[in-house]
Amino acid sequence: MSADSVVSVVVLYPRLLGTYGDSGNATVLCRRAEARGLGSRLLTVDAGEPIPRSADIYVLGGGEDVNQTAAARGIEKDGGLAEAVDNGAVVFAICAGFQILGSPGLGMIDVHTEAMPTRAVGDLVTTPDGAELTDDVLIGFENHRGRTVLGPGVRPLGRVQRGIGNGAGDGADGAVSGRIFGSYLHGPALALNPALADHLLTLAVGPLPAAPTPDDTLVGRLRADRLQRIGRGH
């Protein structure tokens, strides 16, 4: 890619899907692109506004039940997200945003979610399932009542070390299906897991320039602090 590339990131329906600071994921993507000398464009699209068809990355966050239903209805009616995915866009969806991409919902990925009898609230630590993710662990916080079963067409984003994740008994958290990524990690996930953020940027715009790079001293300290705090120790 060339240095004048601009990464465009859409935050989808933050009023409906943004309960746990998840729009921070878009901030992190933009800042990390800029730290490498790339341009970034952050677009916030609320329900009722047209969803752009040609952005690079779409982020969706967590939301309460009524909001989740309203969001799914709006996204389906607009049709822009499905079209963007067909055009090769990257999608990163957390919690309710993840659930609505499957069924019941938009049917864009092969996952099915139903209500769990108890709510999963607490730290969530997973081991990334794909070799392309260079962080040894993915860290976040989960707060949901969904039990998500993965279909044959998807693989997990991570294997749960600590916490509940998808809660379907297979030890999985989240799902990866082509360029669509879902997870129960909030925190927001990309602030806590910079390698995952960079992986999404790479998928969106190609190999990232080797220099300059973001200074990850603070996030390195935060990851160590969090892991120690939740008793995994290092």
């Binding site: 998840d22 309460e64 309203a70 609230v121 602030a191 935060l222």
Partner: protein, 401 residues
């Protein structure tokens, strides 16, 4: 108040617990006393409330301040839980120590239905409702339902915030005095809390396109430091800073009117309220003048960032203990970008979380061990020191007293 033998024993046990806990230095011991009393007599909350005229104050933000303002505005002795212990034991503790006939209590959002049922308040103030401690509250919608159920079988008069759809949806029809002000946090305005359709949001209002939920006409309107009551303007001159405290004052004035206190009288008493359990307290760190602010969730941060002195150096302390909510992701819902380019010291148990958030917001962040360290490390100037719930409390105890 006539007391049953069991209640008398319960109250005596509660008082003893307060004394012991003070002697043994477990803090003020207030809510310990309430817990012991409730354990001995589970009916004590109801029994101690009997014969009193009670107002309850709830909402995500402004409970303590509004409670203090209302207690001050009544101009007489008032039983209140001014220490901020707003769970049932805290309310019981306040009543053990004070037989005043008038009582004003702040109550936690999720405990309000039970407290309404037991103390039978004359009035309930619903200040606002937005995301806070979601690991405990789970969902804003759950709190809306709890409020609606709690108010449904109570005869209490409701004084409520007309701009907040979550509040409006919780109030039974035809039962409220409505307060209106410019809202500053609207990110929890998503789907209609009554019917689930997306709300239509305009520059300064909202309406449901599907059911009839919309902001009700308010009889108390706050704008630019003036409170207009049924068309008559009353200028406010509060000792406390920020637009948010003008709204809190409007609630207190409306509630005082319910007790026949004239607005002018209530306003002059409320203007004089200068600090509420350390909020906005002025103190010094070494030689440096400092001011202490509480901001514990995204909505209260909107107000805090508005109040921060552009000439001051900013210190922020963040904890994530049980009372704060143990999840720190809410820091990303705060527009710390407003501090971009400034030097900010990060303190507290979770300063690593805060530092990453501030860094991404373009703030020059310095992680510091405590406030003295921060004061030594920041450029000269007064300090605006902002903490979330337990971080604020630690700072207040250590530096303000």
């Amino acid at each position: 108040m006539r007391r049953t033998p069991r209640l008398a024993v319960a109250v005596a046990a509660g008082r003893l617990a307060v004394v012991l806990s003070k002697v043994l230095r477990f803090g003020s011991g207030q809510s310990v006393g309430g817990r012991v009393t409730l354990a001995v007599d589970p009916g004590s909350l109801r029994a101690l409330a009997k014969g009193r005229r009670i107002v309850l104050v709830t909402g995500t933000n402004g409970k303590s301040t509004t409670t203090s303002m209302l207690a001050a505005s009544l101009g007489t002795r008032v039983c209140t839980n001014a220490t901020g212990s707003n769970l049932p034991p805290g309310v019981v503790a306040a009543m053990i120590g004070d037989n005043s006939r008038l009582a004003v209590f702040e109550v936690d959002e999720l405990h309000i239905p039970r407290v309404i049922r037991e103390v039978r308040p004359e009035a309930v103030l619903l200040l606002n409702l937005s995301r806070d401690q979601l690991d405990r509250m789970h969902e804003v919608g759950r709190v809306v339902r709890a409020w609606r159920d709690g108010l449904a079988d109570s005869g209490a008069h409701v004084i409520a915030f007309a701009n907040d759809p979550n509040v409006v949806a919780a109030v039974p029809a035809g039962r409220a005095t409505w307060i209106s002000a410019s809202t500053m946090w609207d990110s929890d305005i998503g789907a209609c809390p009554s019917c689930g359709a997306p709300l239509i949001i305009t520059a300064d209002s909202w309406i449901c396109g599907s059911c009839d939920l919309k902001p009700p006409a308010a009889s108390y309107v706050v704008a630019d430091g003036v409170l207009t009551i049924d068309g008559v303007p009353h200028p406010l001159d509060l000792a406390l800073p920020g637009r948010v405290n003008q709204t809190n004052a409007a609630f207190a004035i409306a509630a005082a009117a319910h007790f026949d206190v004239a607005p002018a009288e209530a306003i002059s008493r409320i203007n004089a309220v200068a600090n509420v359990a350390g909020r906005y307290a002025h103190f010094t760190v070494g030689e440096r003048p400092a001011r202490l602010l509480l901001a514990k969730n995204p909505a209260s941060w909107v107000s805090a960032l508005e109040i921060v002195d552009p000439a001051a150096q900013v210190v922020i302390s963040i904890n994530a203990r049980t009372a704060d909510g143990v999840d720190t992701s809410w820091l990303w819902d705060v527009e710390f970008e407003k501090l971009a380019g400034r030097e900010v010291a990060a303190l507290g148990d979770r300063r690593a979380d805060l530092a990453v958030r501030l860094d991404y917001a373009g703030v020059h962040v310095r992680e510091c061990t405590d406030l003295d360290d921060a004061a030594a490390s920041l450029p000269p100037g007064p300090l605006d020191v902002i903490g979330n719930y337990t971080a604020f409390d630690d700072l207040r105890r250590r530096h303000v007293g």
